[in-house]
Structure formats: C-alpha cells, structure tokens
C-alpha cells in the first residue's frame, strides 16, 4: 500500500476544500471545455455521499432540475473544479442519504444544522 500512496502523492495534486458531508448543500464551480475555450459552470445541490479515500475520493451531489433529479459525481481532486462553496449545513443521520432519491416535495426537505 505504501507504493500506492507514494504514487498518489507524487502524481495527484490534492486540493483543499471546505469541510462538507452528506446532507450539506454546496455549489461546485468547474471549468468546461468548448472547443478551445474554457468557461466556468456551477452545479448546486445536496451532497448524497462521499466515497473512497485519499487521492481517489469522490462525492455525489443531487439537485432537482424541475421535476427531474440530476446527480453528478466529482472526484475531489479533479483539476477542473475551481471552487466549492458550502451554502447550507444539513442535519442528517446517515453518511449516505440515498433515501433522498425516493422523496419529493415537502418530504425531501433537509433540516438545517444550527451552529
């Protein structure tokens, strides 16, 4: 395992983001390529899970686009991500809130954590 860690430290540049976990609402801004140009695009939604560890960690965020649920998986260290902003801290009991997929409307609300 040591050599794997060595490879990850050498070839993957880790990024520092604010702390967030499942239930939080975040905005991810990432650069997309269109021909030769790159432009930022943002995706705001609820974090459903954080998965993996170290350099290969990913997170899934979900938003409702009208009536349709849209999910996106980002590697935490993806070079295309330019910023992550935590909008709301959610109060949930699970590390992976997949039950959120079956809920709509009022039932899909997540209580905000008071700090």
């Amino acid at each position: 395992m040591d050599l794997i860690k060595y490879v990850q430290e050498k070839f993957v540049t880790t990024k520092k983001w604010p702390d967030f976990k499942a239930g939080d609402t975040i905005t991810v801004t990432y650069m997309i390529k269109e021909g030769d140009k790159t432009r930022p695009q943002s995706f705001k939604g609820v974090v459903i899970q954080r998965r993996g560890s170290g350099a290969t960690e990913t997170f899934t965020i979900r938003k409702m686009s009208g009536e349709i649920g849209v999910e996106r998986i980002f590697p935490i260290n993806a070079p295309s991500i330019s910023s992550i902003e935590v909008n709301k801290k959610g109060k949930v009991r699970r590390a992976r809130i997949f039950y959120q997929r079956n809920r709509t409307g009022k039932a899909a609300r997540i209580k905000e954590k008071r700090i």
Binding site: M1, L3, I4, Y6, V7, Q8, K10, F11, V12, K33, A55, T56, P75, N77, A78, P79, S80
Partner: protein, 205 residues
C-alpha cells in the same frame, strides 16, 4: 528492446493533462539483471534471460546458484526470457524502467486470479437454460444438452464444461504507459493487469 519482470503493486487513478481520470495499475518493474544471453550459435535462437527480485542463497538450488554466479549476481527470485532483435546484452547488465517511455504501448503477462471450480455460465459465458418458469425446476445455470445420442455415442472432445477457472497465464495487449517513476522503479499502466497484488508480471515491449 526486451521487457522487464515486475510485481503488481495495486490499482489507483490519476488525472491526465486534459483533466480526465485514468484508472492505472502500479507495477514495480525491475531493475532486472541479465542472467543469460542466448545466441544463435549455441542455442539456435537469440534471446536474453532476465532475473528479478532477491532470494536467499540458502533457499536457492545449487545448480541455479552456479547459474547466477556465472552472471556475477546474487540469486534472483524470478527468471524470464525475452526475445532480442539485434541489440547486444552482456551478462550481469542491469535493465531498468528507463527502457520505456510515457505513451508506449506494452503487453503485460500475468497469472490470473484463481476462481476455483466454476460452472459454465461463469467459466464460458453460457446463457444458462432458458427460463426459470414453465416447469423449469433447478437447472437455470446448467449447460443443457452436451451432444447427440447413439451417434456418435460419446461426448465430443474439448466440449466446454464446468471446471477449474483462473490461475492461468493471461496476456493483456496494448496497455498504455501513463507515467514512469525512475526513482522507485514504478510503471503506471492504464487499465487492469491479470493477477493479484504482489504477483509477478512480465512487461513486454
């Protein structure tokens, strides 16, 4: 150029220049030592034998100890032969990952993970027997008919059936070398490589 003998370290993923995540297998490759040079005059063909990994002299058979002494090296754990086209190699010469370059395509040979005794569905990709309803009782993953009756009167040779699966020599062709680390003799190859962690693999150019 020949190849190298290495050890599979494990898998991870790194990002390419255009920001894509690439799954990689990390291989600890070499340094290998030339333990024998085969020539057309003596052996009838040209090849080079490489050794990789250390082994204690007391655990090495005496004939092999003599073989390593000829090449002036310590006993090696694993030996493999590589084809040579034209290049000259000397006994005792070390070969490192520097023979490869990023972007090269290589073939990787390994011993696949043993799966034990497996049925035809997993071993040969059979579809199983039709449906699970309509009188079907307990043979959903069975092979079905294995041949005609009194003529020819026997089951044809080589018919695919259940049996031991895995643990055999497997070659994966045209894997791209994503990164090379000369400091620790590591090769990062795109995609998966046969075998479990710490198993020997042969990387052919």
């Amino acid at each position: 150029m020949p190849g190298l003998i290495g050890k599979k370290v494990g898998m991870t993923s790194i990002f390419s220049a255009d920001g894509k995540m690439i799954p990689c297998t990390v291989i600890e490759a070499g340094p290998c030592v030339v333990t024998q040079v085969k020539t057309k005059d003596v052996d009838g063909y040209e090849a080079v034998q490489l050794g990789f990994g250390e082994r204690k002299p007391k655990n090495t058979p005496q004939p092999l100890q003599g073989h390593f002494e000829k090449a002036n090296t310590s006993p090696k754990e694993k030996l493999a032969e590589f084809k040579v086209n034209g290049q000259k190699y000397e006994l005792g010469q070390t070969i490192t990952v520097e023979i490869f370059q990023e972007g090269d395509l290589v073939d990787v040979v390994g011993t696949s993970k043993g799966k034990g005794f497996q049925g035809v569905v997993k071993r040969h990709g059979f579809g199983g027997v039709g449906e699970t309803t309509h009188g079907q009782h307990n043979r959903a993953r069975h092979p079905g008919s294995i041949g005609p009756g009194s003529f020819p009167g026997h089951v044809l040779k080589g018919l695919r059936m259940a049996g031991r699966m895995g643990g055999s020599r497997v070659t994966v062709q045209n894997l791209k070398i994503v990164k090379i680390d000369t400091e620790k003799n590591l090769l990062l190859v795109k995609g998966a490589v046969p075998g479990h962690k710490n198993s020997f693999v042969i990387i052919e150019k």
